[in-house]
Symmetry: C2
Subunit: 571 residues, 2 copies
């Protein structure tokens, strides 16, 4: 059942991968200096046999036994995603609700059979792709209304099934991880080019279930746009939407399942739209006196119809931390790419807009601004390396009590200044109040739209391993409420899961939640699918469980949305 | 209650508008020649007092009487949309199911009050925008399970409410017609640029409810992409989605209502994304030896990331009929536009791709290919004029017994050849079998995607006014089945309504229909909203009613989808 190499159950990636001890020590020392303390230390990762695990409460029937395991490593691996709260609980050896069984279906029919068993057994099924959730989306914390939990790991449903090179599309199994997907498409000269930060350890099905955000900073930002059709196994049977380039026949079936986080069915396969491999690239970086000046350049770029593949504005602090700039300026990293034509005219116009907004253009080392891979050279390259290594830092810092996390949103341009200033001011206070000392907070744009940016905030505060989970919950809850109150979405591409539910409850129209719950009830009458995420299902009340259990809760239904005060949005 | 000038209840546009008698006579003569007959004639439009109308079965309560009318003209106007079947029934003086009342809410609260009354009265509510449906989407043909019907005309909910120029978005009332919408936005230097053929006589709310297809031939083809947020009044209350440039928080609420054809609620207002007014344009046309050669150029264009605003491939016959070419070649009309930058580099690369595919480029009259309004000059201009006049032809030809209609689809490129050849061959036969003589059939692409085109078929057959409705039903039913069997969608942008339901039933996953019906039941428990379109509601069985009543029916559930034989699509 294991993949080789084996995934760490306690951190990012595969066993044996990550920061080496020297790198880890340098990271701890750098962060310690940032907080003005001498050193940071914490416990090592838990050995498997040190973690107490309750006995499995359910057993598969003989016909499905070959697909299931209750091996402790597997149960630990499928107990959590990869959020900060997950890391803290892992290093605390705190695994109160592991899955009772982990199932690895080999075929779509296996998924159907497993759901039949789980439904009949009064248990819950938790679809599991790469397990990289950072919002409590894959944990089997379903309370006491189920007789057991089964983590449904789709790892064996992998590979490209069919390529339609004429239409530039492929049918791909949902459990296919990013690198496998791209490697198999490469032989056809095609690429999906959807590169979330989790790319190496997340799957196509997971991207679709969570509305993952990918490579392209503009235009095709989410996986949503690449989905041509879906196959989904529900407790009531299997459905497949039709491959169509476009349609006006009723509400889009695909859009109901995209972002459904496993509550409507298990996505088993999808046709996705592909790109030709980029042959032409241009890149540049520009410095701005401050983040708002840069944001005006980005607004102009996003409204110009140029569609840069990269358009990431990084504030001065974050640029300095990642080594991409000296901390006195905001940095804009700009790139264009095409499999069809040289992109100089696009970049030339973009740089005019940047200069008009006061940007000081930095060409990459090549000097002409129009050669090489824009993602691997110059300031952009520095930033990219830091980006891809970032998930490994969590397993080094979380055990030391450093509370480090991100939250991200999207907001219309008219509200962006207030949101940015509101978040920077209030969240700075909150981190200080909660941890007793100043923390760090920075921002970048991950994606941009004609009507607004997607700001992504990174913060650190100094807590202790013993207290960090509760402190994190206070900070997280404030962030949830704040971004929604200031007119943003509680998540632009990290999904809702458990950890964003308080903000989501405030954000989504109540009647839409009713409609979604009714749709779920039609497909999953016993509410066995991923209980605890997104919405409360009909007919099976859940206890408060999981990552945000015990959060400093404000009942979002009991107070009027603060956004009303900003005008315009009522729900 | 009337708008001034008053809309024709029996044809397109306003009273007094349309083809003049000379134009009409020339059109009849030309079509007669095409069928090899001496002349075509038919009855005049029905005077209002010649149409027998049953007495209204319900009356509004006194509090709502000022919003309602049972005036015969209003009841006639709201009895039908503007399809071929509608025209035939109008000219036959056949109005068996007029609305009992026509309501013109002046505010969103009025919509709420009207729905409360209608729900309590056991009646049905039919949301009505511009009334330009060509698929039986607005007729009050709900059978005998309702005590009456009320057409809810949103004409008084008109106008732009708020413009956010920073984010380039506007909040606009749903009853706003195209020309009013664009006129009000013009003072802000902004434009929606969504121009369906019905533009002058359709509304923003109608576009959203039906997933209307607009101006842009690529990229932002449907109104879907322009919707930033919605307000919807349902029988259970009002909901508003949040203005967001992008989000990953659960399935998109907007996408559930976009294309819902009035069955989930009455769309009353929307924030939509706008464009700056185009300042730079380029246009060209190209001739191809045949449609397939042209389609290869279009495929290359659609996959190049150039995003032409116009990319309409017109087959030889259709180009000749519209006067745009001589009938020996397929014609490609190509345009780029931008409010930000000159588009020469885009056009230059596009013309390379056209030439590579064997296209013979025809520059517009200006000679340089890069000046003027591409929509108003040269072959493109000819075609556009014919396009905008086309709806008026229906009221001239339908009474003569000429069966003239269109059907449209979208299909992946790998299936396009088979679909085109299958449709041209089989529908040619069907028209001959049904009418007893050869008809005319032509095709163009209205929109194109990287993974496939949206072919739009136009046909004519010679019937008689007395027999045309039944003949049309036979032809329409065959077209529904054929495009779906050949892998297409039953509609790319005309919506499902009543007339496409047999194809839709075959196309949409059955479990998705269950989920949609459950979502509707949560919002509209008594199924009062637009009964008869899209899907069967829960709890209120409908008689077979409306345009497709009595169609030569094949039960699509009882035979396996023929598309299986083509491989790949199962439902």
């Amino acid at each position: 059942m294991n993949t080789t190499p084996r995934r760490k159950f306690w951190g990012w990636g595969f066993e044996g991968q990550g920061l080496d001890e020297d790198e880890a020590q340098r990271l701890r020392e750098r962060v310690a200096r940032g907080f003005g303390v001498d050193e940071l230390s914490g416990p090592p990762p838990p050995p498997i046999d040190e973690v107490p695990l309750r006995s499995p409460r359910i057993q598969p029937p003989p016909s499905l036994a070959h697909l299931c395991t209750a091996d402790p490593y597997e149960r630990l691996l499928h107990s959590y995603g990869r959020s900060f709260a997950d890391a803290v609980r892992i290093f605390r050896r705190d695994f109160p609700e592991p899955p009772d069984q982990v199932a690895y279906p080999k075929t779509e029919d296996d998924v159907t059979s497993l759901l039949s068993w789980i439904d009949g057994a009064g248990a819950a099924a938790i679809p599991f792709g790469g397990g990289s959730s950072v919002c409590g989306g894959v944990e089997p914390a379903v309370g006491d209304n189920y007789r057991g939990t089964v983590s449904l790991d789709l790892a064996a449903l992998t590979g490209v099934v069919e390529v339609d090179a004429t239409s530039r599309a492929a049918s791909i199994r949902a459990g296919t991880r990013g690198p496998v997907l791209e490697a198999e498409l490469k032989s056809h000269g095609l690429t999906l080019r959807h590169f979330p930060q989790s790319f190496e350890h997340s799957t196509l099905g997971g991207w679709i279930a969570t509305r993952s955000g990918g490579h392209f900073a503009s235009l095709f930002t989410h996986i949503d746009d690449f989905v041509e059709s879906l196959r989904v196994v529900t407790p009531r049977g299997t459905l497949e939407s039709r491959r169509l380039p476009g349609s006006g026949a009723g509400p889009s079936p695909d859009r109901l399942f995209i972002g459904s986080e496993g509550i409507l069915g298990v996505i088993t396969q999808a046709w996705v739209r592909l790109q030709s491999v980029p042959k032409f690239r241009a890149s540049a970086a520009a410095l701005f006196s401050d983040f708002f000046a840069g944001s005006e350049a980005v607004r102009a770029l996003s409204q110009a119809g140029l569609y840069p593949s990269n358009c990431r504005l990084i504030d001065a602090r974050e640029a300095a931390v990642s080594g991409a700039a000296d901390g006195s300026h905001a940095l804009l990293v700009l790139g264009f790419e095409s499999g069809d034509h040289p992109v100089e005219p696009w970049m030339a116009r973009a740089l005019e807009l940047v200069a008009d907004a006061g940007g000081e253009v930095q060409l990459p080392e090549g000097g002409d601004g129009h050669a090489g891979d824009p993602h691997r050279t110059g300031a952009a390259g520095e930033w990219r390396r830091a980006f891809l290594r970032a998930p490994y830092a969590r397993e080094v810092l979380a055990p030391t009590g450093v509370i480090g996390d991100t939250f991200e949103t999207a907001v219309t341009w008219d509200r962006f200044h207030d949101l940015y200033e509101g978040v920077m001011a209030r969240m700075g206070e909150v981190i200080r109040e909660v941890t007793g000392k100043p923390g760090h907070l920075s921002c970048r744009f991950t994606h941009v739209y004609p009507d607004g940016p997607a700001p992504y905030f990174t913060f650190q505060g100094l807590g202790t391993l013993a207290g960090a989970l509760e402190q994190w919950r206070e900070i997280k809850e404030e962030a949830n409420q704040l971004v929604v109150a200031l007119g943003g979405t509680v998540t632009h591409h990290h999904a809702v899961g458990r950890d964003h539910r308080s903000g989501y409850r405030r954000q989504r129209p109540a009647l839409f939640a009713d409609a979604l719950a009714a749709a779920k009830h039609a497909l999953d009458p016993n509410a066995i699918l991923n209980p605890g995420v997104l919405i409360d299902p009909i007919g099976r009340p859940l206890g408060v469980t999981g990552a945000m259990k015990g959060a400093v809760s404000r009942d979002p239904e009991s107070e009027p949305p603060r956004v009303d005060e900003l005008g315009g949005v009522r729900q």
